[in-house]
C-alpha cells in the first residue's frame, strides 16, 4: 500500500496536472544526484496569447531538457575527473557546467516567474518589492521600459534579470550572455529569456512585441517571494 501510494504520488507530481506547484526560489529537482526537468505549474497553452503553446512545449521539453541532460553529462565527467584527480579535465569542464547548469537554473526560474492571467499573471507587484521598484525606477512602467531597453540591447543570445544586490539589498537590471546564471553578488528576482527560441515561432524578428507582451504573464508573486 505504501509503495502504491508513493508511486502514484510521484506520477501526480510529474504529470504537471497538480497545479499546486508553488512558485518560489530555486525549486530545482534532483533525483539520485541528477538534475531532472521540473514540471510546469500550468499548461503549455496557458500563456497564450503572450507566448504560444508550441513555443512553450519546445522550450520546456526540448530546450530546457537538453540543458538538463548536458548538465548531467558534464557533472558525470566532472566526478570522473575528480575521482582520477585530473585537474586539467576538471577545469576544462567549467564552460559546459556554466552553460548547461546555467540553462537549467535560468529556465527553472523563468517558468516560475511566468503565470497565466487566470493565476495572477500580469498583476502588478505589491509590498516591499513594489516599493523598491518605485524607489529605484520611479514606478512599474519606468521599470518595464528600462527592462525592455535592456532586453532589446542584448547582442546575441542572453537574458535580462531584475536582481537584488546581496551587499546593499538594492535592486537593479542586469543582462547576462547566453546561459550565464545570476550567481555571486546578485540574486535573481525576475528573468526574461531573450534567446530567439523563446519567441521566434510567434514573433520572428519582431522581438520588441514579445518583450511587450510578456508582461501580461509575469508572475510577480514569484519575484516577491525571491525578494523577501
Amino acid at each position: 500500500m505504501a509503495a502504491l501510494f508513493s508511486t502514484s504520488a510521484r506520477v501526480a507530481l510529474r504529470s504537471g496536472a497538480s497545479a499546486s506547484y508553488k512558485a518560489g526560489a530555486a525549486s530545482l529537482t534532483f533525483a539520485r544526484g541528477k538534475a531532472t526537468l521540473p514540471d510546469l505549474s500550468y499548461d503549455y497553452g496557458a500563456l497564450e496569447p503572450s507566448i504560444n503553446g508550441k513555443i512553450m512545449e519546445l522550450h520546456h521539453k526540448n530546450h530546457h531538457n537538453t540543458y538538463v541532460n548536458g548538465y548531467n553529462t558534464a557533472i558525470e565527467q566532472l566526478q570522473e575527473a575528480q575521482h582520477k584527480g585530473d585537474i586539467a579535465a576538471q577545469i576544462s569542464l567549467k564552460p559546459a557546467i556554466n552553460f548547461h547548469g546555467g540553462g537549467h537554473l535560468n529556465h527553472t526560474l523563468f517558468w516560475e516567474n511566468l503565470a497565466p492571467k487566470s493565476a495572477g499573471g500580469g498583476e502588478p507587484p505589491s509590498g516591499s518589492l513594489a516599493k523598491a521598484i518605485d524607489t529605484t525606477f520611479g514606478g512599474l512602467d519606468g521599470f518595464k521600459g528600462k527592462m525592455n531597453a535592456a532586453l532589446a540591447g542584448i547582442q546575441g543570445s542572453g537574458w535580462a534579470w531584475l536582481v537584488k544586490d546581496k551587499q546593499t539589498g538594492q535592486i537593479s537590471i542586469r543582462t547576462y550572455a547566453n546561459q550565464d546564471p545570476v550567481v555571486g553578488q546578485f540574486e535573481p528576482l525576475l528573468g526574461i529569456d531573450a534567446w530567439e527560441h523563446a519567441y521566434y515561432l510567434q514573433y520572428q524578428n519582431r522581438k520588441a512585441e514579445y518583450f511587450s507582451a510578456i508582461w501580461d504573464v509575469i508572475n510577480w508573486k514569484a519575484a516577491e517571494k525571491r525578494f523577501s
Binding site: L58, N62, H63, T66, P95, F99, Q155, G156, S157, G158, A177, N178, Q179, W195, E196, H197, Y200, L201, Q204, N205
Partner: protein
C-alpha cells in the same frame, strides 16, 4: 557625411535554397535581420561622424561595440549569402568547383569527411549565437583552420573567411526548430565551393563589396 550601406541583393531567389532553407527563413533573414544590422550600422556611423566633428571621445568609445556588432552582422551576412548556392548546382561539388581548396582540406584533415565532421563538431559546440568559419590564416592560400565567432563578431582581420555558417537560431528555427544537427547536415548541400575556392586562392578584396 558618413557613407551609408545598403542591403546587397541575394545572388539567387528567396526560394532557391529549398528544401534546405525555406523561402520564409530566407526572406526574414535577408529583408529583416540583415537589413536591421545595416540600419543600425548606418546610425552608429552617422553618430560617429558627428562625435568626431565635436571631438566627443566618450561617445566615440561608446559607439565602438555598436559598430562591431552591426558592422559584423553586415559583413557576416554578406559573406554568407555568397557562400551558399542552390542545391544541385555545379558549385556544390568540392571536387569539381574547388580543386586547390580540396587539396588543402585533404592535406589538413585527411579527407573531406573528416573535415566535415570536425566542422560540425565546432558548430554544435557554439554556446549561444554565433558563426562557424573555415578560414585561411594570414591571407589567401594560408593554413586552413576551423574557427567560431560569437554573436556577430567578424573573422579576425588578416584572415580570409572562406565560408561561414550562421548558427543564430533565426537562421534555421522556423524550419528545424531545436534540431540544429538537421540544419547543419543540410547546409553542406548548399555550400558554394566555387566561391570558397575564389576566396581561398585570391582572398576577399572588400568584405562589403563582394
Amino acid at each position: 557625411m558618413a557613407q551609408t550601406h545598403t542591403l546587397p541583393p541575394l545572388p539567387y531567389g528567396y526560394d532557391a535554397l529549398e528544401p534546405i532553407i525555406s523561402k520564409q527563413i530566407m526572406e526574414l533573414h535577408h529583408q529583416k535581420h540583415h537589413q536591421t544590422y545595416i540600419n543600425n550600422l548606418n546610425a552608429a556611423l552617422s553618430a560617429q561622424a558627428s562625435a568626431t566633428q565635436t571631438n566627443d571621445v566618450p561617445t566615440l568609445i561608446s559607439l565602438q561595440q555598436k559598430i562591431k556588432f552591426n558592422g559584423g552582422g553586415h559583413i557576416n551576412h554578406s559573406l554568407f549569402w555568397k557562400n551558399l548556392t542552390p542545391p544541385g548546382t555545379p558549385g556544390n561539388e568540392l571536387g569539381g568547383a574547388a580543386p586547390a581548396l580540396r587539396e588543402a582540406i585533404n592535406s589538413r584533415w585527411g579527407s573531406q569527411d573528416a573535415f566535415t565532421k570536425a566542422f560540425n563538431t565546432e558548430l554544435l559546440g557554439i554556446q549561444g549565437s554565433g558563426w562557424g568559419w573555415l578560414i585561411s590564416k594570414g591571407g589567401p592560400k594560408g593554413r586552413l583552420e576551423i574557427t567560431t565567432t560569437k554573436d556577430q563578431d567578424p573573422v579576425a582581420s588578416g584572415d580570409v573567411p572562406i565560408f561561414g555558417v550562421d548558427m543564430w537560431e533565426h537562421a534555421y528555427y522556423l524550419q528545424y526548430l531545436n534540431n540544429k544537427a538537421g540544419y547543419i547536415e543540410g547546409i553542406w548541400k548548399i555550400i558554394n565551393w566555387a566561391e570558397a575556392e575564389k576566396r581561398y586562392t585570391a582572398g576577399v578584396e572588400n568584405l562589403l563589396k563582394l
